[in-house]
Every structure is written in structure tokens, then in C-alpha cells.
């Protein structure tokens, strides 16, 4: 049992924290938001230069072959800085599909441009009625000669606007909620038959609803078994959930720090409001919530590579649930303790609250994961 970061991991943390403290102040973030696609090409290039886009990929694929702890370190830092760039969609999720399911040819084609920052990806999975169930898929992929033809509509695809390539879940056979018959497909975002309706999200990202009308891709577009990819999808989404947990911990950590600082400096009745016990106890409870969340984020990080899928899923569900509860409490109380200023767009604190709220509702909210834990039986 060891909770310490290794020397290399500490250096990685310093590097990513350094890059973001230099390039990702609140005012800079506002500028990046207005750039094409809603994020900064310059920051993306710098992430690539530092090697951060190549962390999880195997050395034979040009990456560094690093693991879940390194991913946690990066996501925590991204959460602290409220980073807009599509790291989760590109490196964690699409990279995850390529790493765990990609053929040698797919890896050779797609991983190098991710690592050097030339291309970004998006994960087109959510449908109007699927909510959090990964096996609920109506978008279809039908064989036509050597090609696949994709029909259907995906919603709230983060980075869907600027992604070069989409990773799309689609049904090759069976009924809407069958667990068998689901495939994952690599689809260039500029092919014929794709239409996008783009919009901003509550937490400052950009998303798209994407319609696929007779979109034709080659036989090599399928990642893994086109008729049986649900296990692959669940594994990658568990990695995404784990990454979101770490990002949320970073955001909570920063929220608490900012709030404590505010309590020290904001004066009312002639004294800092942090001298009032009712407010002190609230931040103490926020600290408790943060530490519980941090513990579970670490736990999920350790479990995400478990060979046993059921054990991994249960652990990640428990973590996502704890993060949901802690994130909601810390987010809401941060606003409350800031008072009126917390309600304004110009204060940074509200943006953490919004990001935490959106993380809760991504890949399963607290109640959804509570149900999964409760159905899976013993946890402790």
C-alpha cells in the first residue's frame, strides 16, 4: 500500500501544473473560448510538445506507455485550470478505443497525429433516448459490399464541432437495447452525409448534434468486433469516468482553495467573514467531501486496469457516485459562501460549479451509479 507519487510522476505533475499556471489564467481561458472550436490551438500544441498527448500510448505506437496514475495527474491539473481543450475526447476516450481495440493499421494511422497534436477526436455515443445506458443504441451500421453505411443521430458530442475524426457507436444487428450487435466506428468528420448542429455547453465547451445520413466508411473503420464491442465500450467509458473523477477532484480542490481565500479577504461587520463559525463549519464539511472524493478517485484509478471487468465497473461506479455527491456539495456551497459575487460570470468560482455539475451528468449521474453499485452487491 503506497499513496506516494514516484519521482517521475512528481515531475510530470510539476510540468503540467507549470504549463497551465503559465498559460491558463482565467482571462486567458476566456480568450481561448472565443477561438475556433472553442479552445486554443496554441495550448494544444504546447500540450503536445510536453508529450502530454502521448502519455498513455504504447512506446511501439510512439507514446510513453504510461498508466492510470499519470492520467489522473493530468486530469486533476486540467480540472484545476478548467481546461477547454479536448483531452478527454481525444486522448482518453478515442485514444482508449485505439489502444484497447485498434488494429495495427488503425493505430499506425491515428495515434501519431494524436500524439503530435495534429488531429483531435470526438466520441459520438449519446442518443436521444439512451441516457446513460451504453448498450442503448439505435444508430445503425449496415454492411454494403466492403463498406459500412451509418445512419442515425448522436447528441451532445463534445468537440464534435472541430474533431477531425469521430468515434461512433452503432448497431450492426439486434434491437435497441440488446447488448450484442454494437460496433465502434472511426468516421472522418468531413465525409458525405454528416451534418452538424453546433452549440456551446453550460461549462464553456463546444458540442454538436451530429446526423449521419448514409455515411459510408470502409471495412477497416470498425474498431474491434463490429458485432460485439460493448465490453470495449464499457472499458473505455470506465476510463473516461475515472478521468472525469480526477478532473472533478482538481476542480473541487481549486473551488475550496478559492472559497477559503475569499473567506479570509471578504470583510463584513468589520471582520473577515471567515471568522464566522457557521461559514467555517461549511468549509470544513467541504474539506471532508473533497478528501472522500480524492480517496475514491485514487481507488478508481487503481481499479481501472483490473482484469476483472465486473470488479472494475463496480469500483468506478462507486467512485463516480462519490464524486457526484462531493462535487454537488462543494460546487453549491462555494457559490453560497461567495454570496452575490459567486452568482456572476466574472467570478471564476461559478465556472467550477458549472463544470462540476456537467461532470456529474456525464457517463452516469450519482443516482445511476448508486443503482449500479446497489445491483452489484457487496462493495466493502
Amino acid at each position: 500500500m503506497d499513496f506516494e507519487l514516484s519521482e517521475e510522476q512528481r515531475l510530470l505533475k510539476e510540468a503540467v501544473d507549470g504549463l497551465l499556471s503559465d498559460g491558463y489564467q482565467f482571462t486567458q481561458r476566456k480568450k481561448y473560448m472565443k477561438e475556433t472550436g472553442g479552445w486554443s490551438q496554441d495550448i494544444w500544441r504546447r500540450l503536445a510538445e510536453q508529450g502530454l498527448l502521448g502519455l498513455p500510448f504504447a512506446e511501439v505506437d510512439g507514446g510513453f506507455g504510461l498508466g492510470a496514475v499519470e492520467a489522473m495527474i493530468v486530469m486533476d491539473a486540467l480540472g484545476k485550470a478548467l481546461v477547454l481543450e479536448p483531452y478527454l475526447a481525444t486522448v482518453v476516450i478515442s485514444g482508449g478505443f485505439l489502444r484497447h481495440g485498434g488494429s495495427a493499421a488503425q493505430r499506425a494511422e491515428h495515434i501519431p497525429p494524436i500524439i503530435d497534436g495534429r488531429k483531435t477526436f470526438a466520441f459520438a455515443q449519446l442518443e436521444k433516448d439512451s441516457r446513460y445506458d451504453l448498450h442503448d443504441v439505435t444508430t445503425s451500421a449496415r454492411k454494403r459490399g466492403q463498406s459500412w453505411v451509418i445512419e442515425g443521430k448522436k447528441f451532445v458530442v463534445i468537440n464534435g464541432e472541430s474533431a477531425d475524426t469521430l468515434v461512433v457507436t452503432a448497431r450492426t444487428e439486434g434491437a435497441q437495447r440488446d447488448t450484442a450487435g454494437i460496433g465502434v466506428f472511426l468516421v472522418p468528420s468531413n465525409v458525405k452525409g454528416i451534418t452538424k448542429e453546433t452549440y456551446p455547453t453550460q461549462d464553456g465547451l463546444r458540442a454538436a448534434d451530429i446526423t449521419f445520413t448514409g455515411v459510408e466508411v470502409g471495412a477497416h473503420a470498425a474498431i474491434g468486433d463490429p458485432n460485439n464491442a460493448l465490453l470495449l465500450i464499457e472499458r473505455v467509458v470506465d476510463e473516461a469516468r475515472t478521468a472525469l473523477c480526477a478532473e472533478a477532484v482538481g476542480a473541487m480542490d481549486e473551488s475550496l482553495k478559492i472559497t477559503v481565500e475569499y473567506l479570509k479577504t471578504r470583510n463584513q461587520f468589520g471582520v473577515p467573514i471567515g471568522s464566522f463559525q457557521s461559514l467555517q463549519h461549511r468549509v470544513a464539511d467541504m474539506f471532508v467531501a473533497l478528501e472522500q472524493a480524492r480517496s475514491m478517485s485514487m481507488f478508481a484509478t487503481m481499479a481501472v486496469d483490473f482484469g476483472d471487468g465486473a470488479e472494475r465497473a463496480k469500483t468506478v461506479a462507486a467512485a463516480k457516485m462519490q464524486i457526484g455527491m462531493s462535487g454537488k456539495f462543494i460546487g453549491q456551497q462555494s457559490i453560497q459562501l461567495h454570496g452575490g459575487i459567486g452568482m456572476t460570470m466574472e467570478a471564476k468560482i461559478g465556472h467550477y460549479f458549472k463544470r462540476l455539475a456537467m461532470i456529474e451528468n456525464t457517463f452516469g449521474d450519482t443516482r445511476y451509479h448508486l443503482r449500479r453499485v446497489s445491483e452489484s452487491g457487496v462493495l466493502v
Binding site: 499513496f3 467555517q280 474539506f287 480517496s295 466493502v380
Partner: protein, 392 residues
């Protein structure tokens, strides 16, 4: 970073388990599982078995009889005791006064008291709280006046757990009435058989008798029973309370209780089906399990961190353990109440125990309200977090 237990740690856990299977009297275990009161003799006999094995004062330095285990091993040991369940060594001696004596006491005190604590020759109790001094402990009024080679102690202590069994009490007494609050307090060891000590039982809301009032009227104590320096007692008390806090999460106790909840919930019915099959109940149970898992990991983080902290300077994050640990313990007793529903009512032995005896459950629910009050109330813990961690 590696959150899995090492092979050595797993083997150690198995060794502890094996020892418990071989040595814990089944009757004592049954009583603990059913929440029945153990007698003094039962507990002392068990702790002597532990001491023979060399495990009663496991956390002490080796020179005083400790095991030299890592903090993770200490944690595993305690958790296994709590889960088996078997009584953990009496905190007042082993975890409280023992470390104060070997850290601040004289050579004579160490030689005399430490082996007696390890072998339970002395049952210790704690003389800190007073009727007027709860959370504001430093306002205590019990006075120790130096008269020649004796202290003469007058005052009253309260909430004294198991004082009815005790041979010795460690008391915080005011030795300098002119000094400000914390400054004039001394840490004195008092024989419970001394003339002038009266113990009066306090019945708690669960009907049990754990706690007492202790009256001290002109109690004469030899000056050599002072620990460390006169008027430095507050420092020793803070040291002691810090040690207390790291053991207070009682993760193993909550785990054992969750196991019991599931067992009972598979027998008691609601809507014609076992309570355990009620989705709403299962979700509340699952939520409690998730919180407990998080607490267990937080506890391990604090434990792992302890090795880096200066000895005797507990990690202030351990207040998190006290708050969350007590909340979860209370939640488990609420879940137990929910499982048995109307059968919570019978007080004392219920004539029907076809599903097994449940008369302890409501009592346990009532009794467990104490856990967010003792050991520094949860509100005091929040004060500690705000000051020591957050710097407000």
C-alpha cells in the same frame, strides 16, 4: 502509487485472522455480534491472551513491548479485531495513558505502569471532562494542591467510561489557579482505590451503564504520580487526544455492522419480500457502503502519511476520519432500525427470537448518538479543520 495491499500485508492479515479464530472465545464473539455487554473478566482474560502473543500494545515502541509493525499493519490488526469481532485493547490504557507515560513519564513510571497496562493488571479510565468543561476542556476546575510530598485533589470528573471497573484514572487537574486556562494544568495518575473517590453510575438513553461521574474529595496522591512537568498537562492531553483521533474512524466496526444489516435484511420482510430486496433500501445501503469505502481509503491515506509525520503530531486531516467515521456508524444503526421496523420496540429480552435476537438494535441506535459527541465533538473537529488545515 499502489493502493493494493502487498503480499506481506495480505499474509499478515491472514495471520491475524488465524490467531483470532484460534483464540477468541466463541461465547464472547457471540455476545459482541449480538451487542450484549461483556463482563470485565471476559475482556481482561481476552486481553491477556493478546498480551501473551505480544499484541496487546502493538503500537508502542519495541522497547516498551510494541511489535514494530508498520502503520498499515497496525491498521490491519485493528480492523481485523473490529470485524471478527473481538474487543480491541482498552483504549484508555493502551492508546491514551500508555503513550503519554512512555513519552513524558519518569523511568519509575515507565517501569511500573507500562507492563501493567499491557497485561491489564490496571484498568485505566480517563479523568478529563467535567460537568462545566466539555468541549471547552481547558476550563476544567478540579484542583490539585501540593502539600509536602502529596497532591490533594478536589473536584468532579464526568462521562468516565467504565470507571466502575477501573483501578487507575489519569486526571487533568489545575495546579496553578493563577495561570490562564491551559497554562496551569497538570497530568496526574490517581489510584481509584484512594480514599475520597466516589463513583456514581450514569445511565445512558439506551439503558446501559458505561459512563460514570467520579467525585474526588481531598484525595491524596503522591507527587511522583505527576507525569512530566507540573503545569504542562495540557500539552500531554493534546498529544493524547491526537492519538485517540486516528483510531476513531472504526471502519472495521462499520464493516461488521453492514454485514449484520445484510444478514438481518434477508430475514425481515417488507411488502412480502425480504427488506434486502427493496430497491430503495438497497440504494441507501449501497450509498453507505460507498461512503465507508471512501472513508477506509482516507483512513489508509492518513495512516500511510503518519510515517512521514513527526511522532505524536497527528495529521489534522484525521479530523475527517472522526467526522465521517461517526456519521457512518450512526447511519449503520439507522439502517438496522429500518430493517427491523416495529420489532425495534421490545426493551430487554424479547420472547421471540425466531429470526435472531434484535433487542440490541434500538439500544445500539440510541447509544451510537455518542460517537459524534465523544473524542472531541464533530463540531470541535470542524473547528480543527478550519484552523489547522484551512488556516481560517
Amino acid at each position: 502509487m499502489d493502493l493494493a495491499f502487498t503480499n506481506e500485508e495480505r499474509a499478515f492479515r491472514e495471520e491475524v485472522r488465524q490467531f483470532l479464530r484460534e483464540t477468541v472465545p466463541p461465547e464472547m464473539r457471540r455476545k459482541l455480534v449480538e451487542g450484549a455487554q461483556l463482563s470485565k473478566d471476559e475482556m481482561v482474560a481476552w486481553w491477556r491472551i493478546l498480551n501473551k502473543k505480544g499484541w496487546c500494545v502493538s503500537q508502542w515502541p519495541k522497547e516498551y513491548g510494541g511489535t514494530g509493525w508498520t502503520s498499515v499493519q497496525q491498521y490491519i490488526f485493528k480492523e481485523e479485531l473490529q470485524m471478527y469481532p473481538a474487543p480491541v485493547p482498552l483504549a484508555f490504557g493502551v492508546a491514551m495513558v500508555g503513550p503519554v507515560i512512555y513519552t513524558f513519564g519518569s523511568e519509575t513510571q515507565k517501569k511500573h505502569y507500562l507492563p501493567r497496562i499491557a497485561n491489564m493488571d490496571d484498568w485505566w479510565c480517563q479523568g478529563f471532562s467535567e460537568p462545566g468543561s466539555g468541549s471547552d476542556l481547558a476550563s476544567l476546575k478540579t484542583k490539585a494542591e501540593r502539600k509536602g510530598d502529596k497532591y490533594v485533589i478536589n473536584g468532579q470528573k464526568t462521562w468516565t467510561t467504565l470507571a466502575q471497573y477501573a483501578d487507575m484514572i489519569f486526571c487533568l487537574c489545575r495546579t496553578d489557579p493563577t495561570a490562564k486556562k491551559q497554562a496551569g494544568i497538570s497530568f496526574i495518575l490517581v489510584n481509584m482505590k484512594s480514599r475520597g473517590i466516589t463513583v456514581r453510575p450514569i445511565q445512558t438513553i439506551d439503558g446501559g451503564h458505561e459512563i460514570n461521574e467520579v467525585f474526588l474529595d481531598d484525595v491524596e496522591v503522591p507527587v511522583e504520580n505527576l507525569v512530566g512537568e507540573e503545569n504542562k498537562g495540557w500539552d500531554y492531553a493534546k498529544f493524547l487526544l491526537g492519538n485517540e483521533r486516528t483510531g476513531i474512524a472504526r471502519v472495521g466496526v462499520s464493516k461488521e455492522r453492514l454485514r449484520r444489516i445484510k444478514e438481518l435484511a434477508s430475514k425481515f420482510k417488507s411488502g412480502g419480500r425480504p427488506v434486502l430486496e427493496d430497491p430503495a433500501f438497497r440504494e441507501r445501503l449501497a450509498a453507505c457502503e460507498v461512503e465507508l469505502k471512501a472513508l477506509e481509503l482516507t483512513q489508509l491515506r492518513v495512516v500511510a502519511d503518519e510515517t512521514k509525520h513527526e511522532k505524536g503530531k497527528p495529521n489534522p486531516a484525521s479530523s475527517v476520519l472522526k467526522i465521517k467515521g461517526s456519521e457512518i456508524q450512526q447511519t449503520t444503526t439507522e439502517l438496522l432500525m429500518e430493517v427491523i421496523g416495529p420489532f425495534a420496540a421490545p426493551y430487554g429480552e424479547h420472547p421471540d427470537s425466531s429470526y435472531e435476537a434484535t433487542d440490541w438494535i434500538a439500544q445500539s441506535y440510541f447509544n451510537n448518538r455518542k460517537v459524534s459527541i465523544y473524542g472531541g465533538s464533530n463540531e470541535i473537529q470542524r473547528n480543527i479543520i478550519t484552523k489547522a488545515v484551512l488556516g481560517l
